[in-house]
Symmetry: C2
Subunit: 409 residues, 2 copies
């Protein structure tokens, strides 16, 4: 399957009769739309000549101060000058990669890793070296071995890309114990850490873990986003970076877009100033926990021969299919059966992952999630019969997904 | 002067006591902010789960249809599928350059050319070859000669970058007679044309000239923007490109930002659907014509030894200083005298332009424009005395402006 075919498939999958367990779209119906609408009105009526004008390339200063408040929940201490506001954290990912990567440079990333990051690394011709994760996130010993081997080969490793919390797609988190270990290994090998953290505040139990950036100011570039804790439609994310890198990020961002949207920034700034954003995040956590429960409950009921991660937060579970099944080859049949997912191959730079799929529980209601898993179970059951008969299900030997469509965010 | 010093200088220049003839910020006080605020409220209250959600990487389909209406004023006929919505047209410029340029490839551009475009070309390590313009825009014979010489040298020319209407910074427009000639020359040399047209609808007399894209569908990538005809704060621009290029632009944009802001797109879409946007453009035209008149009137009165272009639209006039003056060296003294401009060197890739300055008449009131020119005349007069005494004014031999700060848009 080529990228264009996968796109066509996702176009079908966006029809209302299909249960999509594919997308990373947050569920927005719980937001106080009336209040947000009135705020938007007030921002333009009272500060319109600022909201509708060009702004600072680095981002609105008040918003950058408010971002510090948000990050304090994960124990990050920073200065407003350290923050660069971007068009979603995807743009920050693009800018960091643009700054650091020359063709052939190595990026180390978890196996599996976020499809949108892999797309950016590919666009700048980085070589991605995957390092395994387990239930406690990235495995320190495996990272040590990989960096040592790369050093021995004389390969130039520019950064470690990691999603420490409620990993996309794996659903696991880097344990508190491993955080300083990972940082120590990276520091010793002279490798910068790119910490991508859209889901950190969406944990289902207990307090957020301290961000890697809270443990290491100089060796970490941190990426944050309002897309999952508030709303993606404004396209507002940010980077926190050591001084010299931050200056270059601002220049690169000005070259790419001149400045982030003042209208978006001022709307978010007003939301943070006047709404109970902490209460909204709590509401989202409860909503997504209920959906996670629906997802893992349905998996246990309907997919006895598969295994999956049980995430403590975020949007995704990572499912290993019964022996012999190929998630990508099976996708057209799943869509025909009115259920969609993202095949595991999307999350590797090297064609691995055909035995996995990412299921997201963020957008559909619990009932639709259960219905989706039931449909999926039917498809898997038919596929398994074919495997039992012929030893292997008909695959297509195609390429992996080539682009981070917004459907896959 | 280094980029950081110029930034510091522009920070001073943004103080209220300084008359800034430097920026390209549109004048927004004439916009019906109450109406726009209410529209923003309505969009979120009634379509909030769309406005605040991820959207299509290519852009909202309704907005793309409305963009066709806008472009019809310059005789462009296209299909909504041909349009890619971007985070300002600056992002489109970045994406096109990213797609086409390998280090060392040649971009042909007017002499002078838009500082933000030169920043992008530099970021991708293009070699910019400047071709002269005159009162009627880019000179066809000079383009023919340049492309012939480059072909003879075996240099790979990827595209011609041109601002055909109310040129930034030169203030001139490509004449109707030259438009087909330029296209014919580009076609014959196999060079794509990148038509950047933020100001085309802001002409002070008569009807808009037909866009280059209206004369050649296959050889032109067209860039449009709402930043000057409505408001830059939403960061909404667009590209129209031949099919194969358009598909690649969408993939590149998804890699860079996932998707443009739905909140911004739906706000602009509502504005186009419910407000008299043609009337607003007419009001802007009259406003800017009055300011242009104030600018050229003051120049004639106070700067008898300089020469300048008299623009028929847009935001800028291009001033040639009296013999021996250096616009960049003079800038700190001008800012001290509470007037700011952009030195001509910013608009060349090769260090030319120290004898020119760009003056913008878009943002300050006519009275402030006249005051600014008076102050400028004082500075020029003191500099000229130094030249008369010593033969040359004290310069600094510094580099040109390295980045397209939003101040210079």
């Amino acid at each position: 399957m080529r990228a264009s075919e996968i796109r066509a498939l996702f176009a079908v999958a966006s029809r209302p009769e299909v249960v999509s367990l594919a997308g990373g779209m947050p569920y927005l119906e719980g937001l106080p739309l009336d209040v947000i609408g009135e705020m938007a009105q007030r921002v333009i009526a009272t500060r319109g000549t600022t909201a509708l004008q060009y702004g600072s390339g680095q981002g609105d200063e008040t918003l950058r101060e408010q971002i510090l408040e948000v990050m304090r929940l994960e124990r990050i201490e920073a200065h407003p000058d350290d923050v660069v506001v971007t068009t979603g954290s995807q743009q920050a990912l693009d800018l960091v990669t643009r700054l650091f990567i020359n063709p052939g440079d190595v990026v180390v990333a978890e196996a599996p890793s976020y499809v949108g990051a892999l797309g950016v690394f590919r666009a700048y011709q980085a070589d991605v070296v995957h390092v395994p994760l387990d239930q406690d996130g990235l495995v320190p010993e495996a990272l040590e071995d990989a960096l040592t081997a790369l050093a021995r080969e004389g390969r130039r490793v520019k950064f470690l890309y990691t999603v420490p919390n409620f990993h996309n797609p794996a659903g696991v988190s880097l344990s508190a114990a491993r955080r300083p270990q990972i940082l120590e290994i990276a520091r010793r090998h002279g490798v910068l850490v790119l910490e991508d953290n859209p889901y950190g505040l969406l944990g289902f139990e207990g307090e957020p873990l301290p961000a890697l950036r809270s443990l290491d100011e100089d060796g970490v570039i941190y990426l944050g986003s309002f897309s999952k804790t508030f709303a993606p439609g404004y396209r507002v994310g940010w980077a926190v970076a050591p001084h010299a890198i931050r200056e270059k990020l601002v220049l690169a961002s000005e070259s790419a877009i001149l400045c982030p949207s003042n209208a978006s920034q001022l709307a978010i700034s007003a939301y943070l100033a006047t709404c109970d954003w902490r209460g909204q995040i709590k509401a989202f956590r409860e909503l997504y926990r209920e959906r996670r429960d629906a997802m893992v409950g349905a998996l246990a009921e309907h997919l006895p021969r598969a295994t999956w991660t049980v995430p403590d937060g975020g949007f995704y579970t990572w499912v290993r299919l019964p022996e012999g099944l190929d998630a990508k080859a099976m996708l057209p049949r799943a869509v025909t059966a009115r259920v969609a997912y993202v095949p595991g191959t999307a999350f590797y730079a090297d064609g691995q992952g055909s035995d996995h799929m990412r299921l997201s529980f963020c957008f559909p209601t619990p009932e639709r999630i259960r219905e989706g898993v039931r449909r999926l179970a039917g498809v898997i059951s038919s596929e398994s019969e074919l495997v039992d008969l012929f030893g292997v299900a008909p695959g297509d030997g195609g390429t992996s997904i080539e682009s981070p469509s917004p459907d896959l965010a």
